[in-house]
Amino acid sequence: MVVAVPATRTRRPRRPVERTTDDVLTLAGSGVSAVSVCWLLFARFTDGVGWFGFLLCTFAVFLAIFYVVTAEHHGTLVAADRVATAVVVCGAVALLVPLTWLIGYVVAKGLPTLRPNFFFDDQRGVTPLMPASAGGGSHAIVGTIEQVGLALSWSLPLGLLAAVFLNESRSKWRRPVRIFVDAMSGIPSVVAGLFIFAVLILPFAKHYTVFSFNGLMASLALAMIMLPTITQTITVVLRLVPDGLREASLALGSSRVRTVWSVVLPTARTGMTTAVVLGIARAVGETAPLLFTAFGYDLMNPNPTSGAQDSLPLFVFKNVRKPDISAVDRGFAGAFVLMLIVLALFGLARYIGRDRSKQSSNRRRVPRLSSLQERFQR
């Protein structure tokens, strides 16, 4: 019987996250054997499962093999830890896949049919037999810009005031308003469209053209969606303004209005700009509320107060559902432009809200925006 004497063994201290050649080989070996097993299972013994199912099964088999092999070497505790790490890392990487895929697909389908005339022509005189590059979506782009611009002009002042109310006042109404803002951010966008349709278009359309299907109504519906988002994000930014600044301003004898106007809002300006840009990015892509308000139209209609109007998401939605291939391709060209706009807005928001503390330390203090972008997702 041999008794191990730990004191005489020289053991290098092992860091928990260390990775040795042995570990790498185990990982690679498990991967290769998992692929082989699943290939045998699906390609040889049973019917196919499609590449997607194959990937899922391979991953499950890989985890099992990896667990068994690691447990053999290091015990079950380490094995469970490594398997968990593999699952978490793969899960996080897996998020990358659909997004890159989606972007790649829209680029691959949209770019070939996109011609400069897409930005200058509408669908006048375009028949189903014409190629996809005939005509354009300028009417949709103009519609989108007008509708989102108008929607911003309704929702920004109101949202800003509501956020100031939630954060800077001491009213007892703050709690109910906050609950309602949160609830409003959850209402489906199609319901916002239905609401505008029910309140303004149904009863008044017969008497006033302002209240028929047009861009103005669309902007109101979009404002219903933007309002809670803008309010919530601006509230978060305002909360990041240090209380010391407010107190200093009030201690100097300024009124609360002056404090908000000259201290709080300028300090939070960068954050608020990001909030607004992200709000725009969201509104630009909304389709559902427009079905009941702007309605869609194939020709240029620059007047938002009269007559149905198109918009980019609506253009995409309607064309992709048409039976003729050229219309579908035209829809994808629109989708590509829409995606460019959204990506540009997203990049702009990140650029405005970037962390500038590294570049210059003596700059005025700007609220950090990492938490703001979390808020945007609500």
């Binding site: 996080a92 939630l166 609360r256 829409l338 997203f346």
Partner: protein
């Protein structure tokens, strides 16, 4: 002279301009309150035509939509069932991935990869739903079909995976659920991440000091601490998934029947159905208003319960929803 020596009387009375400030901001806050109430009120008002013909109970329990017969037979049961099935499928996919992403961001990643993954999740939230829709409808659907076929062949003894005689696997609730899960994922991931980030570092260090591996620490400290947040995040994701419109309108065929076979072509959701029937006659529109009202209360209820769950859990007390 003497008057100047007496101390100035300090008052808490707000200045005139501040009183106006209070009034104006209060008005803005109340507008939001009123708007939401008006939404419910007007949908109810406009849905009266349809509800008076069919009756409220029949409307809620009937699974067909026929306006060609007299009296019209319309009901939302099939739509609501479809909505719930799509939303649950979406959440069943989004929650595991959301939790994994949150774990990666809070526990595993370096600072740099954390930034990239956070940006990625944000970007996922910014992609318009119509793009998800055309991608799912034109591309992903065909990729998922073999998997659906395989599941239906081998697991059809589980009721929801059963299919009819000659099933078509495109345009199924399963595929719609996968696409919607991508849209529910950002909100789930962000809520869960926020909750995980609040795990007391003392408890984490205690677990490590007792010799726990990283997974052991997560299992014993982070996950139990974040349980309320995970449930709440899942419900918020559910709320988002219930209201998802355009992608579902593109993928599902939108027939107002009860469909249990999630792998098979068929099914409808309230929002998708409404979107597809935009611009119909007055009576149909009134029915759509009633359906919209049902959806409105469905999402409102889910979101309310979710925020209560999160704020009443230990981890979510400081999380603003």
């Amino acid at each position: 002279m003497a008057a100047e020596r007496t101390p100035r009387f300090v008052t808490e009375e707000p200045a005139q301009v501040d009183r106006w400030f209070d009034r104006i901001t209060l008005a803005a806050g109340v507008v939001v309150l009123v708007l939401l109430t008006l939404v419910g009120l007007f949908l109810l008002l406009r849905s009266r035509d349809a509800l008076s013909v069919t009756g409220v109970w029949e409307f809620l329990t009937r699974a067909e939509w026929r306006t060609d017969v007299k009296p019209a037979r319309i009901g939302v049961l099939g739509l609501v069932m479809g909505t719930v099935l799509v939303a649950f499928t979406a959440v069943a996919i989004a929650v595991p991935f959301g939790v994994l992403a949150a774990l990666f961001i809070t526990e595993y990643s370096s600072t740099r990869s954390r930034r990239y993954l956070t940006a990625l999740v944000d970007l996922l939230a910014a992609v318009p739903s119509v793009l998800f829709g055309i991608w799912g409808f034109r591309f992903l659907s065909a990729q998922i079909e073999p998997l659906s076929r395989w599941i239906s062949r081998h697991f059809s003894w589980i009721p929801i995976f059963a299919t009819g005689k000659h099933p078509r696997f495109s345009g199924s609730i399963f595929i719609a659920g996968i696409v919607v899960s991508l849209m529910a994922l950002p909100i789930v991931a962000s809520v869960v991440r926020e909750v995980f980030a609040q795990t007391p570092p003392g408890e984490k260090e205690a677990a490590f000091a007792l010799g726990a591996t990283r997974w052991g620490m997560i299992r014993l400290v982070v996950l139990p601490f974040g349980r309320g947040g995970i449930i709440g995040g899942a419900m918020l994701g559910l709320g988002r998934a219930l209201g998802e419109t355009i992608a579902v309108a593109l993928i599902l065929p939108q027939v107002a029947q009860v469909v249990f076979h999630i792998l098979e072509n068929g099914g409808a959701t309230v929002s998708g159905f409404i979107a597809n029937r935009a611009g119909s006659d007055d009576f149909t529109t009134s029915g759509l208003m009633a359906a919209g009202l049902v959806l409105f209360f469905l999402t409102l209820g889910t979101n309310m319960v979710a925020s209560v769950v999160v704020s009443h859990s230990r981890s979510g007390a400081g999380v603003e929803l």
